[in-house]
Amino acid sequence: MHDKSALQAAHLLQLRGLTITYRSRNGSVTAADQVTLEVREGESVALVGESGSGKSTVARAALGLLPPRIARIDAGSLLIAGRDMAAATEREWEQMRGYPAAMVFQDPLSYLNPVMRVGKQIAESVRRHDPGSRAVEARVAELLDLVRLRESVIRSYPHELSGGMRQRALLAIALGCRPRLLIADEPTTALDVTTQAEILALLRDLRQRLGMAMLLISHDLGVVWEESERVYVMFRSRIVEQGSTREVFSQPSHPYTAGLIQAAKAARNSDGRFATIEGEFSTAVD
C-alpha cells in the first residue's frame, strides 16, 4: 500500500541542483549538471532538449530508474511529494513508483511483458496500488475505457497490438496506480503523426479528468508548445532556460533556445537556406 499522506505537498517533484554522473572505464560524464526543476499539482511541464542533452537522465532519476553502479547522484536533492529520494534505496523507490509518480516511455514494447496478456499486466498494477481490492476486474475495465482501448485487448499479447495501442496499454498500467504525476519520456516519438495526435489528445483529456500533473520529456518543440504550460530547456546537461512555454517560445533569452526554435520551424530563411545552429551552441559534432 502506498503512502497517501505524501500528497500533502503541493510540489510533486522538486529537483534542486541535481548533479548526476555516469562512470565508465574511460572516465566519467556529467549527464545532469545542477539541474533545478519542479512540477506542482496538476501542472503540465515540459523538459525539452536534443539527444544527449541529459533530459532522459533527469526523467529516469525522478523515478529512481538510473542504472545502478554506473550512474551516481553527486550533489543536490530530489524530492517526490516532499520526500527526499536522492539517497533512497531500491526498496524505498519501489514504494514511490506508480504512486505518486508513474512513467511511460517512447518504446512501450520494451516495458510490457511480451508473454503476459495485457489485461493481466494492468491487473498487476491495480493490485500493486491497492492490494486489498476485490474489484480488480472492474477497475481493469475502467482503465481500458479511460485509455479508450476495446475490452477484448485484455486477452491480447503486446505484439498483437499496434504502436498506438501499446502506448495506451502502458498508460493504462501507469494509471492503475492512480498517479498524481505522469512522467512521459518521448511518449509519441515512435508513432505516426495521426496516432501521435490521438495519444496527445488522450493525455490532455486524462490530465483534465484526473487532475494529473505531467512532466513531458520531448525533443519536439511543436509537441511541447501544444502540450505544456511551463518549459525547461536542457542543453549539454544543464537547464539553460525556463519559464512559461508561451514566453520562452516567443522571447527566448538563451541563444540555444532561439536557435532551436528557429531550426524547429523547418522553414527557409529569406536566402532560401534552412536555419541551423552553428558554433558554440551546436550539438552537432561535425
Binding site: 505516426d192 495521426t194 511543436g222 508561451r246 534552412f274 552537432a284 561535425d286
Partner: protein, 264 residues
Amino acid sequence: MPVATRQPLLVLENVSKDFKLPGGAMLQAVRAVSLTVHAGEIVALVGESGSGKSTLGRIALGLLAADSGTVVFDGHDLTSLSPARFRGLRTGMQPIFQDPTASLNPRRTVRQLLMQALWKQPLEGETRCIGLLNDVGLRPAVQYLDRYPHELSGGQRQRVSIARSLGMEPKLIIADEPLSGADVSIRGQVLNLLLDIQRSRHVAYLMITHDISIARAFADRVAVMMKGELVEVGPADAVLRTPAHEYTRRLVAAVPALGSPRGA
C-alpha cells in the same frame, strides 16, 4: 522554386505491388501509382508508416520488382532491361537511407567506402574521394579518409553516405527518411547540403518522408500516399496549405506546430 527543365527523369506508371502476409492474406502495398520526377526537381513522397511510400521508393530503385506497371528512368524502361544493362543505368539513381550506420560497412574506412563508389575511375580515386568529402562538408577531407564509420558522428556518417551516392554521378537521389533520426540542429545542415548538391550538380530528389513540415519547405512538389494509393500530388505549398484530399487534411492538421492555437 520553379523546375528549370520539365524533362521527365523518373516516370512510374501504374505501379502495383502486393505482399503475401503470413496466413495467406494479400497486402496491396502499392496500388496503381503513377508519379513523375523531372530532372533537377525535388519531389517529397509523404505518408504514414504502411502507406507504401518506402515500397514505391524501393521499386523505383530496382531493389524490388513491381507486380505490374512500368518504371522508366532517363528514357529507359527498367522493367524490361537485362540485369547487366540495368546495373549500368542504375548508377544514375542512388539511394540515401535513414540509418547510415546500417548502409556503411563497419569494417571499411571512409576511403574504401568511397572507392567502391568510384570503381569506374579507380585511377584518380584518391583525388575524387577528397573532392567528394569536400562537397559534403567534411573538411579537411584528409582527416576523414582513414576513419571507420564508428569513429564518425551520426551527421558525419550521413554525409559519407551522401558522398558515396554522389560518387556515382547520379541524376536522381532517392532519400528514404534521411533525417528521421537527426536532431533539429543537424537537420538544417543536411537539408542545406542537399540543396547545395541540387544546385551544383542539378540532381533531382525523391525524398520519402513522414515529416510534413520538411516536405513543405524542401520540395517543389509533394505526393501523398495512403494505404498504397497516391491520393494527392501537386506543388508542395498548395497541397499542404490547402489540401484537396481529406486524408492530407488530417495529416497536416495532426502535425503539432509552433505557434498553433492549441498551444500555450
